[in-house]
Structure formats: C-alpha cells, structure tokens
C-alpha cells in the first residue's frame, strides 16, 4: 500500500517551520512569542512591529522598581541586541502598523507592505482617559510606557512638588501612591469604587492595603468621583462630595482598554478585546491574539470569556501559540497569577477569586504575612498571599491540578501547607 505524502498539496517551501510570522507589539506577549517560536525550531522569518521606539522592555517595573530607582533601564530590557541578531528576530521599532489586510495576508506599515503566513496581535492595552472636563496648560500624568515613567519620576522627584493627587485606587495608582508617599510627599488617592482594588480583592484585603497607605499618611477618599480638574498655580479637583483637593501633580490610573482597533478594522471579531478560541486564534484563520488584548475562554474561570492584564497571561499565551504555529496545536491552560508591590506588602494572586462563596485566612495578618484561600462549591479557586511566596507557589500547583486542600488542616497553622 502506498502511504500518502506527508504534506499533501503543499509545496515543500511552505511547510510550517519555514513560514513568516509578523507580531504586532513588543511587550511580554510579543517578545515571548518570538522567543518561543525559535525555541520550538521555527525557521521562518519573524518580524516584530512596535509603536514604541524604545528597545523592548518590561512594563511591570515601571510602576515599581524602575520608578523607585532600584531597577535601571538595562535591567528591565527583555533581551540584548545580540539576542535579536542571533535569533534573527527583526525589530521594527517606532513603526506604526496602519492596516491589516486579512484576505491578502499583509500588513501595511509606515515603511511599506509586509506579507505574513501567521499574524500575532500582541497589541496590549491603552489607558482609559478621565472622562471629565480638564482646564489647564498641562495635562494630568498617565503611565504606560518607559517615556511616561521617566517623565513621571522626574515630575514626582521635584522638591517643589509636594501635594500629589492620584485618581484611581487600582494597582497602578496605588503603586505610584506608595512611591510618592515613601518619598515624603503628601498624597491623596480618590477612588470611585467604595474600596481599593475592588475588582480583584475581597474587602479584608482592600482594608489591609488601605490601612497601610493610611499609615504612610495617604489620604484615601473612597466612593468619590472627580468632577473636573482645573490648573492654575496648582491643580484643583472638584469631588462628587462637594469638596476640593489641591495638588502640584495629578496622576491618573483608572484602568485600561484593549488595543483592538487594527483588528476591528480588519474585520476580526472584537468586543471587550480581540475574541479568540482556546488556541488564541481569532475569527480569522492563522491570526492570533495574545496578552492584554485577547478576550479568551479561560479554564480557570469555568471557560468564561475573560481578558487578563498580566505577565503570566501574556507569556503563557505566547508559548501556546508558538507551539500551535509550529504544528503542535496547544490550548491555553495555565493558572492565572498576578502581583503587586506596595510598601512592604508583596501581594501575589493565584487563580481567579471572582464568585467565591467561602474564604479562609491562614497566617499572621497583623504581621503582614498571610494568605487568603477562596473556595467555590467547596473547590479551591484562588489564593491571595501577602509576603507568603511559598503559599503562592503551592497554590499555583494546587489550582493547576484542581486540588482542594483539607479545610480543617488548612485552618490549623501548625500543619504545614504541603501536608494539607
């Protein structure tokens, strides 16, 4: 009997390993996709377009170590220049992709038109802007890029800048508030929701963080909106309570929106993000979306469509699509995890706690060293750990394996976690 040819009807020069990949975006998702493709033995061309002209760098430190000066430019770069050369990953920095033509399989960029076999949207997210009237010669500050961070640091470090208003009590706003407060500034945080980081944390952790900020002198105004901002010699913010706050600098961190216009205009299905299946493939075959911009079915959210803004999500989705492109279809199935660092509080979150019906606290709450375990229908779904990295790593293993520890043992601090 004759065996069928290995690649029926496909000319030899188009086997997957030789095809061309274009990646849009040079954050964690885009760079990891390129690295994983090469690790998997992909031999075709890889080209990364980035609107950002700076050499590709990691964004999480921008509101943490890079802001407080403990990490420098060099230490937040993903890879060295020689890595890109040695691995033949072409970087097109500071170059805007204007259009994606799905039927023609081309992208139109400032410098010309480029053909692809596979396209990866790793476009990330952009800052939500304050939807209020702003009068002034300057603008309030936002943080997304390294340039923003350089500008923000310079602005905050000036001696005559003493009163800081942070609008938004989420991760970014609070990390910046923590830096400013530690530097001796007088900081006010205004948050529209009734408590800090409400979207991701339970009340007890919101309160724990609130108490820490207050201990550093931060004036927290929660459940309060800003109605308008006026700049004269100082900024003046009118609040929904009728009060006003004055400040030398105003910083805004009120969340992000997925960067999906390019995909939308190309006719790819989008809603709150670029919609993808479990392989991170969009509604157009051979076109993927990964990282902050991807609205994906997440096994750790019972298969619901979610969009996650995290390093883990970006990196693991990138690894999955690299395998898929190299001919080994790989679905995305990794426990979500996140972190934030404010003062001495290092919070590590494993799993998605939304919809929990029971929680258990283990450890020393007053000593800032404890974990909160979340259950839904008696199953462990998430663990938030403050200064308990070992708990966090154990939690990731448990959630990945769908394991639920014994509640009675868990409640007993004298029993080791890995024996629960």
């Amino acid at each position: 009997m004759l065996l069928p040819p290995l690649f029926p009807n496909i000319p030899p020069n188009s086997i997957p390993m030789k095809k061309n990949v274009i990646i849009i975006g040079a954050g964690h998702a885009g760079i990891q996709a390129a690295a994983s493709l090469r690790e998997e033995g992909f031999e075709g061309s890889i080209c990364i377009f980035s609107e950002d002209a700076d050499f590709p760098y990691q964004k999480p430190p921008l509101s943490k170590g890079y802001l407080d000066g403990s990490q420098q430019k060099n230490s937040i770069m993903f890879r060295s220049e020689t890595w890109y050369e040695n691995n033949q990953v072409e970087l097109k920095l500071g170059e805007l992709v204007e259009k994606v033509d799905v039927p023609q399989k081309t992208v139109h960029a400032t410098s010309g038109e480029y053909a692809f076999d596979f396209l990866v949207f790793a476009t990330g997210a952009y800052n939500r802007e304050l939807p209020i009237p702003i009068k002034g010669t300057d603008q309030p500050l936002y943080l997304r890029t390294m340039k923003d961070a350089d500008y923000l640091k310079q602005a905050l470090d000036q001696e005559d800048v003493q009163d800081i208003l942070v609008i938004g009590g989420g991760f970014i706003g609070l990390e910046i508030a923590a830096y400013a407060a530690k530097s001796g500034k007088k900081v006010t945080v205004v948050e529209y929701q009734p408590r800090l980081m409400q979207r991701v944390l339970p009340p007890m952790l919101s309160e724990h963080f609130a108490a820490k900020h207050q201990a550093y002198g931060v004036d927290l105004r929660m459940g309060v909106g800003v109605q308008d901002l006026t700049q004269d010699s100082k900024w003046l913010a009118s609040l929904s309570t009728g009060e006003t706050v004055t400040a030398d600098q105003v910083i805004v961190g009120i969340g992000v929106l997925p960067s999906q216009v390019l995909a939308q205009e190309a006719g790819i299905r989008c809603s709150n993000g670029i919609e993808v299946n479990e392989y991170c493939e969009t509604s157009a075959a051979g076109i993927y979306a990964i990282g902050d911009c991807a609205l994906h079915p997440n096994p750790f959210a019972k298969g619901q469509m979610v969009r996650l803004e995290s390093v883990q999500n970006a990196v693991d989705q990138a690894k999955a699509i690299a395998s898929t492109i190299c001919g080994k279809p790989t679905s995305y199935h990794q426990v979500p995890w996140f972190w934030t660092h404010q003062y001495n509080l290092k919070l590590q979150m494993a799993g998605l706690s939304e919809g929990y019906d029971q929680l258990l606290v283990r450890g020393d709450v007053e000593g800032d060293k404890f974990s909160v375990f979340y259950f839904k229908n008696n199953q462990l779904i998430a663990v938030d750990s403050i200064n308990k990295p070992a708990d966090h790593l154990q939690a990731r293993k448990w959630i990945q394996a769908s394991y639920t520890p014994d509640l009675e043992k868990l409640a007993d601090d004298s029993i080791k976690l890995n024996e629960c």
Partner: protein
C-alpha cells in the same frame, strides 16, 4: 568586570563578563543563557531564575532574605545548599571567577 561562567540547562559552558551590580539573572538573560526564565523580571515573585552556585563561592554571596528562602522552597528543581535565586544575587568583585549552574527545570 568580574568574569562569570554559566553552565546552562543543556550543560554548555558560557564565560561572560558582567558589570558590577548586575544580578546573576540579568547576566543570564542578557547573554541568552538557556534555562533562566525570570518571568517576573527580577521581583523575587516567581522562582524561575533558580541556580546552583559553586561551593567555594557560597560564603561570598549576599545573605539570603526570608522571601528568597521561601521562594526556593517552591522551586521546581530540587533545592540544595547551593541554591539561590539569580535575581537576588548581585555581582561584586568577590564573585570574579564564579561558576553558576542552571537546573534543567524552572
């Protein structure tokens, strides 16, 4: 600049010079040494820059903080008395000639 030898996860040796103050993790990433993942970018949050330090240099290393100690307990490859997280060890002149071994799994 101090000279460091990495033995990557495939067993290949790489001799590199690292600037003072850089971490073992940064040196590995910048020099494309296989086996260091450093997912969190050096925040001591992920335990994916686990490495084994040559015995004769152990006493020249900066002391281990509690959080690094805890993270190492959760590292994928077995922890030994030579285990450190690469992101927590900064290069000093005392570390010139150091050999760092990278485990097969992170």
């Amino acid at each position: 600049m101090p000279q460091i030898t990495y033995i990557d996860s495939d067993g290949n040796k790489h001799q590199v010079e690292l600037p003072l103050g850089a971490t073992i993790m940064e040196g590995a990433v910048q020099n494309d040494i296989k086996g260091i993942i450093a997912e969190c970018g050096g925040s001591c949050m992920c335990a994916t820059c686990h490495c084994y330090i040559a015995e004769d240099y152990l006493d020249k290393l900066p002391e281990m903080e509690e959080e690094e100690d805890e993270m190492l307990e959760g590292a994928v490859a077995p922890r030994t008395e030579r285990s450190r997280l690469g992101c927590q060890v900064r290069i000093s002149n005392a570390l010139d000639g150091l050999v760092v071994e990278i485990p097969q799994e992170q």
